[in-house]
């Protein structure tokens, strides 16, 4: 992986990378291991997206009786009335 690719990836994940050159080297090694795994023939096999999930997990369309909103709001670092307040992102 070249450094620019890593920087783009880090930017997408909003990560601050202190030493991109060093990490790019580590990533390259990691990706080599993956490419080894890619050699395995998986033709006709369904990808395993969920190892543990079995069956449908559905919920009735019934409103939950409890209201935790005040407690959740109370945990916010900054508020204005009932709004969560953050720096202007526009």
């Amino acid at each position: 992986m070249n450094v620019n690719e890593l920087k783009t990836t880090a930017q997408l994940a909003m990560l601050d990378i202190p030493d991109p050159e060093k990490l790019a080297q580590a990533f390259t090694e990691m990706l080599e291991n993956f490419s080894k795994m890619m050699e395995v023939d998986v033709e006709g096999l369904e990808p395993t997206t969920h190892a543990l999930a079995q069956g449908n997990r559905l919920r009735n369309d019934t409103p939950r009786g409890t209201d935790e909103s005040d407690a959740l709001l109370a945990r916010a670092p900054a508020r204005k009335d009932r709004f969560f307040k953050i720096p202007n992102v526009l």
Binding site: M14, R57, D61, R82, F83, F84, I86, V89
Partner: protein, 473 residues
């Protein structure tokens, strides 16, 4: 010559009681951050679960759009960083949505067009933000509510096509009962992709137009955008792929300031949500709620029931009136045309005047039929039908009862009417003279006299006939 290609992305808010993946109510209008919980705020360790009704409605829409329904649909994470979602991702569907490869028929100026549907997928809506000064304020009441996205292929050609699509689509979701279709309030939203190219050269470079909150704006924005792209290409320049916002005040689209890098949402299977496999019972419930498409219904009303175009349009536009109409026809052998005319005439008019919705009123299929029957059999004065309707709207009473209580019965007794006619003629020799001298207008004066004697209970048509007879006209 250039040709144009338009594809639509439509988002509808599903009419579920709760959000898509948690038990918060999805009702609007509450104070900010009232309907929030650890799941829709994306707290660590929470486990979302799909709303069964949202899944059902999603499959209903995919089915009515003739899609291939997924036997195993997956949820995916769409990663993006913006504080309208606290999780930094949106649960959506990408690789295996609810439905694919469908179509929807529309009618544009009397001509039928088939528009292919690329896919139908369920996702969650984001929260709302207010930006002011140094701060942004976040309200997550809407975050996590069920949003169904329908993506068409670029089969629409003109702004008119797109407007017709939106209108027909809105009718469909209302009839299906999955969305209220209100564009102004944002429960039905539409973005449009449009490109133009020289004839036979396929799709051009597209722009995406947003901020279209009415069907009319969709048309106007696309008409503008097609003209703009033509100007660009004619000058020998290139269309830039970008998102443009419709500015309804100035009737133009304007490029949005966007970051140079294209979005990369890095979709991957949502680990917290198992795939969903609809079973037979689920599909049976979906089938049970299928309805006749409004366009097909309109054709049936015109061709089989011989309704007027206005009446047919009115009924399919409002599914509540349409349901009442169908229920009235199912009850007994009322003449469909008469029932339809009463519905879109005085019933609608009186409801509007009373500012009462059809559901709130006491009008029912049975009462509607009864009213039509009373008028047709001559038992109710036609002129009083409006008042009867007004009374049924507010009072829980049958038309026959109201007619009796209010004394709205029409006098059908011929000899009684003859007496009034005689009285009118005898009492107004001057008027009779004028009529016989050729002034036919005076006849209406005598009709008025008969109506006065009868206290409005005679049939004016009958009175006119009898007066003409008596005067040898």
């Amino acid at each position: 010559m250039y040709q144009s290609f338009i594809g639509l992305e439509i988002h509808i808010h599903l009419l579920t009681k709760t959000k898509a993946f948690c038990g918060c109510t999805s009702e609007f209008g509450a104070p900010p951050n009232t309907h929030i919980c650890p799941v829709c705020l994306g707290y660590p360790g929470v486990l979302p679960a799909a709303n069964e009704e949202a899944m059902r409605m999603s499959y209903m829409v995919a089915k009515i759009l003739h899609c291939t329904l997924s036997p195993k649909c997956y949820f995916d994470r769409k990663n993006y960083f913006y504080p309208d979602m606290t999780k930094n991702y949106q649960i959506s569907q990408f690789h295996d949505p609810v439905g694919r490869d469908g179509y929807f028929d529309i009618e544009v100026e009397g001509e039928h067009k088939r528009v292919r549907i690329h896919d139908v997928h369920l996702e969650e809506d984001a929260g709302k933000m207010i930006h002011s000064g140094k701060t942004s304020l976040c309200d997550y009441n809407r975050a996590g509510t069920s949003l169904l996205e329908i993506v068409t292929e670029p089969d629409l050609v003109t702004g008119k096509d797109a407007e017709a699509f939106i209108r027909e689509f809105r009718r469909m979701v209302r009839h299906l009962g999955v969305c209220d279709g209100n564009m102004e309030e944002g429960s039905l939203r539409c973005d449009a992709n449009v490109s133009i190219n020289l004839q036979g050269q396929g799709l051009g470079t597209k722009t995406e137009v947003k901020n279209l909150n009415s069907a009319r704006f969709v048309r106007k924005a696309l008409e503008y955008e097609i003209k703009r792209q033509k100007r660009v290409l004619t000058k020998g320049e290139k269309v830039i792929q970008e998102t443009r916002l419709w500015d309804g005040d100035n009737n133009v689209t304007a490029g949005m300031r966007t970051k140079e890098k294209a979005h990369d949402y890095r979709y991957f299977p949502e680990p917290d949500m198992p795939p969903f496999c609809p079973d037979d019972a689920f599909m049976a419930a979906v089938d049970e709620r299928m309805v006749e498409l409004p366009l097909a219904k309109k054709q049936r009303y015109l061709n089989d029931l011989k309704l007027s175009l206005d009446a047919a349009e009115f009924l399919v536009e409002d599914s509540k009136f349409c349901d009442l109409f169908e229920a009235a026809l199912a009850l007994e052998s009322s003449e469909p045309k008469l029932v339809a005319n009463w519905l879109c005439g005085d019933v609608q008019g009186q409801l509007k005047r009373a500012d009462v919705s059809l559901e709130e009123s006491h009008i029912s299929a049975g009462r509607l039929n009864e009213l039509v029957g009373l008028v047709e059999s001559g038992k109710l004065l036609r002129g009083k039908a409006k008042e009867v309707i007004e009374l049924i709207i507010n009072d829980d009473k049958d038309p026959a009862v109201i007619v009796k209580e209010q004394g709205f019965e029409q006098v059908l007794d011929e000899s009684q009417i003859d007496d009034w006619v005689k009285q009118a003629i005898d009492g107004n020799p001057q008027a009779v003279e004028q009529i016989q001298a050729g002034n036919k207008k005076t006849l209406s004066f005598l009709v008025g006299q008969v109506m006065r004697f009868s206290k409005g209970k005679a049939d004016p048509k009958k009175a006119t006939e009898k007066l003409e007879q008596a005067l040898g006209l």
